[in-house]
């Protein structure tokens, strides 16, 4: 008898439709994704959901094929139930419900933010880190305490990745903008003062974005990119440092799409060496949104019996990280 379980995970909170398969032994067997790239401007929720609907079937079958599994071998199906864009979440949920009904297997709702944390813990082997989760939609400093992931700091307005993406578009840089912004910044020389807004343990990026965009016409774009990144990352590093001093955690985990930034990694590794904490970054292929992280977190939740009947499997676009019980951490 084969006791290994296979969980299929569906991710569809924003740009990415992803399908990944995790085993109960902690391996990500496949992780296929298809990304919606808007023709111009930012993400359009309806267009993104249409993209997801059109790519769902091929993405799921590719994920199964890559893992060398048939649908009949899947133990449970997990899906991103929030937070995210309503139309995108509903598309992913529909796919997950369909598989669950078809296979008569359990359906597991997963909080997207928790999945970013859990995949980082799995990949780095760090059990109880302070988490810095930065992406296009989220900027959260979090740590586990008393049954939940608590939020020690977050953005008061827009997310770090959103600020950088929007500014990159403002400069006319093609998608994906952040790596190109970083290249420009590497050539920057002069620091241009920009709003550095730390409030308690929280940060604010909207004023920074407005100011940088206003200056874009009249400044050297390399200097401006350097200054924007230094201010934006400096703010995250500062609140991360406060949180690590406050929580006295002995490790820091950087996760989410913006975790790929070398400049941000450098800043946070400085923070860690100052506080004798271990520094971990989620591997690049697991940094952005992906189905594998949903599958793995789905397995952790499944073990605790956190399944949902199809008729109650609502999505929640505003599902906060700190509302979710994480009994597998007890």
């Amino acid at each position: 008898m084969n006791s290994v379980q296979y969980i299929l995970g569906i991710e569809s909170t924003a740009h990415t439709f992803g399908c990944g398969i995790a085993s109960s032994t902690g391996r990500i067997l496949s992780n296929v994704k298809s990304e919606y790239v808007p023709a111009s401007g930012g993400i359009h929720p309806r267009e993104a959901s249409q993209h997801h609907a059109s790519k769902a079937a091929t993405t799921v079958s590719e994920a199964l094929k890559e893992a060398g599994l048939r649908l009949s071998e899947i133990t449970a199906v997990a899906f991103s139930a929030g937070p995210g864009l309503g139309p995108c979440l509903r598309t992913g949920a529909t796919v997950a419900r369909t598989i669950s009904l078809l296979r008569k297997c359990p359906l597991v709702p997963v909080n997207h933010c928790i999945a970013h944390i859990e995949i980082g813990r799995l990949a780095t082997g760090e059990d109880d880190p302070l988490v810095v989760y930065v992406s296009g939609g989220n900027t959260i400093i979090s740590a586990y305490s008393g049954g939940k992931y608590r939020v020690f700091g977050e953005t008061l307005d827009i997310a770090l990745g959103n600020c950088l993406d929007t500014f990159a578009r403002h400069l006319g840089l093609p998608h994906p903008g952040v790596p190109k912004l970083e290249q420009l910044a590497d050539e920057g020389r002069k620091f241009i003062p920009l709003p550095y807004v730390v409030k308690g343990q929280d940060v604010s990026y909207s004023g920074l974005l407005t100011m940088a965009s206003r200056l874009a016409g009249g400044c050297d774009r390399r200097d401006l990119s350097l200054s924007l990144l230094e201010v934006a990352y400096g703010m995250v590093a500062e609140v991360a440092e406060r949180a690590i001093a406050h929580t006295e955690k002995s490790a820091l985990l950087l996760t989410g799409g913006v975790a790929r930034s070398k400049r941000l990694q450098r800043a946070l590794s400085f923070v860690c060496s100052d506080h004798s904490a271990r520094f971990h970054v989620v591997p690049p292929d697991l940094a952005g949104d992906n189905g594998g992280m949903i599958a793995w977190t789905g397995y952790l939740a499944l073990k605790e019996g956190m399944t949902v009947p199809v008729e109650y499997s609502y999505v929640n676009p505003n599902w906060r990280l700190d509302e979710v019980d994480v009994p597998w951490r007890r």
Partner: protein
């Protein structure tokens, strides 16, 4: 120079125990941060040092206990001030009985009310920045403070206090917050209503707040 002993290495600054004219004193030195651009770093450290020194004195004039500032060295980002030799409130909250908790946080609310009424917001209200000592509650760490009477800034100040309670003292956060509000109202009177309304608005504005909270429950 008097002898200096490292008391604490915080996130932002190092605290040394030293002496000033025969009095026990603390030297707070904002240290250079390798993760920040050097120009940005000296701007942040310099402005916070002078800001903190000013606000510490002004807060005390408003009746909020703070350390006495003896001297400021803006170039080296240092403040020399009186020593409050006791651990922060954070360490006592867990062991408080309900009455003690209510009394303490009502007083914290009154203290913040006095500060706000006098045109100052603290900018980093946490239980690590409040020190119970000789029957008083001392408020420290004014580096992120501001001179303002804006409803928005006051609202953010209280929002941060609430969030700090939820993340560090989740078992008692609701009770502590209710007492805090009671004390705040007592001092601010009618001025408190727009602020507390704004606190809820700021919370709802936050990312991913569920429907019940959005409705202003």
């Amino acid at each position: 120079m008097a002898e200096m002993r490292l008391l604490k290495k915080g996130a932002e600054a190092e605290l040394y125990l030293t002496d000033w004219m025969g009095l026990q004193a603390v030297l707070k030195r904002r240290i250079k941060k390798g993760y920040r651009n050097p120009d940005l770093d000296s701007y942040v450290r310099g402005s916070r040092t002078s800001n903190e020194a000013k606000l510490l004195s002004e807060a005390r004039r408003l009746g909020v206990p703070t350390p006495v500032v003896y001297s400021v060295d803006k170039r080296n980002c240092e403040i020399l001030m009186s020593y409050i030799g006791a651990p922060p409130l954070k360490q006592f909250v867990g062991d408080m009985d309900p009455e003690g908790l209510a009394l303490t946080f009502t007083r914290v609310g009154e203290m913040v009310g006095r500060l706000h009424k006098g045109g100052i917001v603290h900018g980093d209200l946490t239980t690590s920045n409040i020190i119970p000592y000789s029957g008083l509650l001392y408020l420290i760490d004014f580096g992120l403070g501001e001179h303002t009477s804006d409803v928005e800034s006051r609202g953010v100040d209280i929002h941060l206090m609430r969030r700090a309670l939820e993340s560090s003292h989740h078992e008692v956060s609701s009770a502590a917050y209710l007492s805090f509000i009671e004390g705040y109202r007592r001092i601010m009177g009618t001025l408190s209503e727009p602020v507390l309304k704004r606190v809820d608005a700021i919370r709802r504005r936050g990312r991913y707040v569920d429907v019940e909270r959005r409705k202003g429950a």
